[in-house]
């Protein structure tokens, strides 16, 4: 995965999160909505930092970490439309964010 592909994958994840955040059913659960919204803001900041980060995309560590992100995104795709699984959605997004933090830390 290249840096641009990772930025795109995070962008697609943000779009899916936005669809969830615009769902009136989630908006009727203010605490849960706020939790997902806070994660959206964090992931958004990470994507912005990623655009400007110096990353060695051919590095094995980067490829290993993006592999973890791809796996988490795949799992998120299966549950993101199911608000009954909101805890799993939140956990999966947290996993993506944590791996992104590692990537950004290595790039800093």
């Amino acid at each position: 995965m290249t840096q641009a592909e990772l930025v795109t994958a995070i962008g697609n994840t943000l779009t899916r999160m936005d669809n969830t955040l615009m769902d009136p059913d989630l908006q009727n659960q203010p605490a849960r909505w706020q939790q997902v919204y806070a994660m959206r803001k964090h992931l958004d900041d990470q994507q912005r930092e990623l655009v400007a980060a110096t990353i060695q995309a051919d590095d094995a560590a980067f490829q290993n970490l993006t592999g973890k992100i791809q796996l988490a995104i795949k799992q998120l795709q299966q549950i993101v439309d199911n608000l009954k699984k909101i805890d799993s959605i939140i956990n999966t997004i947290a996993r993506i964010s944590a791996v992104l933090d590692e990537i950004l830390k290595a790039a800093a």
């Binding site: 930025v7 795109t8 962008g11 936005d18 908006q27 909505w33 959206r40 655009v51 400007a52 110096t54």
Partner: protein, 319 residues
């Protein structure tokens, strides 16, 4: 003969004529002109759209930050807003000049392939040569100076490689060297431009993704504000109407952002450039096939660039 019959007859005759041209291996000069003109127009449009996209990059981040802070009832300061910039004016200029230099270089090759008047060939080669020379100097300055995108430091390499390669080819054209010398030089040096095409393509994809994400976030803020307001015991009708207007604008902009990704147009630009090189390097008997590939590539390029230009221009004013 009715008009419909005449049209049918033309439809039958035109492909037959084209097949005849290809069979006899004849590539008349006038065959090049429309495709080269279309290529030149498309590359000029791409350069303009790319510049607008980059110019919007910071604006989009500022507005996204302002909207989010307002929604969160959080403090706003001009300094904080400015920290959201992702590109400096120098970085922006470097990237749009790179597209322009590539467009001028490819135009110079197109003029050469077209077999236009010598004065025009030299004039186009001179223009491209000057652009690449300025670009190489600017890349060195930008790499040494303040930059927000760390990759700017890495730009100097592909730019100086591309400038050196294009300089050798264009120099031969300017000095009226033999067809064979120019031909050999293109074959040897032109591949050095690939890294610059690739760099511009991947970076513009990332910048576009930010535009898409910030635009999508705007939808969350608008729909949530609207739904929260209607849940109030006495909703403010005027506020709801303002929000509904912004939701309509948001939905229009959403469709435009979807067509504002410059990466496929840059890839199509490179494909056209490669097809043009193939026409120049092809032996005489293979020219018709190469020309057909060039026509197809340039048509795809034009098809990518037109909606991009409209989308980028419109999102700059509606985001």
């Amino acid at each position: 003969m009715t008009i419909r019959q005449q049209l049918r007859a033309h439809r039958r005759t035109l492909p037959a004529l084209l097949i005849l041209f290809f069979l006899v291996g004849c590539v008349p000069d006038q065959d090049y002109t429309p495709v080269i003109t279309q290529f030149q127009q498309s590359s000029a449009t791409l350069a303009q759209a790319f510049e607008t996209l980059l110019a919007n990059a910071n604006l989009v981040e500022y507005e996204h930050y302002i909207d989010t802070q307002a929604f969160d009832h959080a403090r706003l300061t001009p300094t904080e807003i400015d920290t959201r910039a992702i590109i400096t004016p120098e970085e922006l200029k470097l990237r749009s000049d790179a597209i322009l230099a590539l467009a001028q270089y490819t135009t110079a090759l197109a003029t050469l392939a077209q077999g236009k008047h010598e004065a025009q060939i030299v004039e186009d080669a001179d223009a491209a040569s000057t652009s690449f020379s300025t670009l190489a100097t600017d890349a060195q300055t930008a790499a040494a100076g303040h930059h927000l995108i760390p990759a700017t430091a890495d730009y100097a390499g592909p730019i100086s490689d591309a400038a050196a390669a294009a300089g050798i080819i264009l120099g031969l054209i300017e000095r009226h060297r033999t067809h064979k010398e120019i031909h050999d030089s293109i074959e040897k040096n032109d591949p050095a431009l690939t890294a610059l095409f690739n760099l511009l393509g991947s970076e513009s994809q990332a910048i576009y993704e930010r535009q898409k994400s910030t635009q999508s976030a705007q939808g969350v803020l608008l729909f949530t504000s609207y739904n929260r307001e209607i849940a109030q015991p006495t909703p403010d009708k005027e506020y709801l109407l303002q929000l509904s207007d912004r939701i309509k604008q948001f939905r229009r902009a959403q469709a435009l952002v979807a067509q504002s990704n410059p990466a496929p147009a840059i890839a199509a630009f490179k494909k056209s450039h490669d097809a043009l090189i193939a026409v120049i390097l092809a032996p005489k008997d293979a020219k018709p096939k190469s020309l057909a590939a060039l026509i197809a590539s340039v048509q795809s390029f034009a098809a990518e660039v037109q909606p991009l230009a409209a989308g980028v221009q419109a999102t700059g004013t509606t985001h």
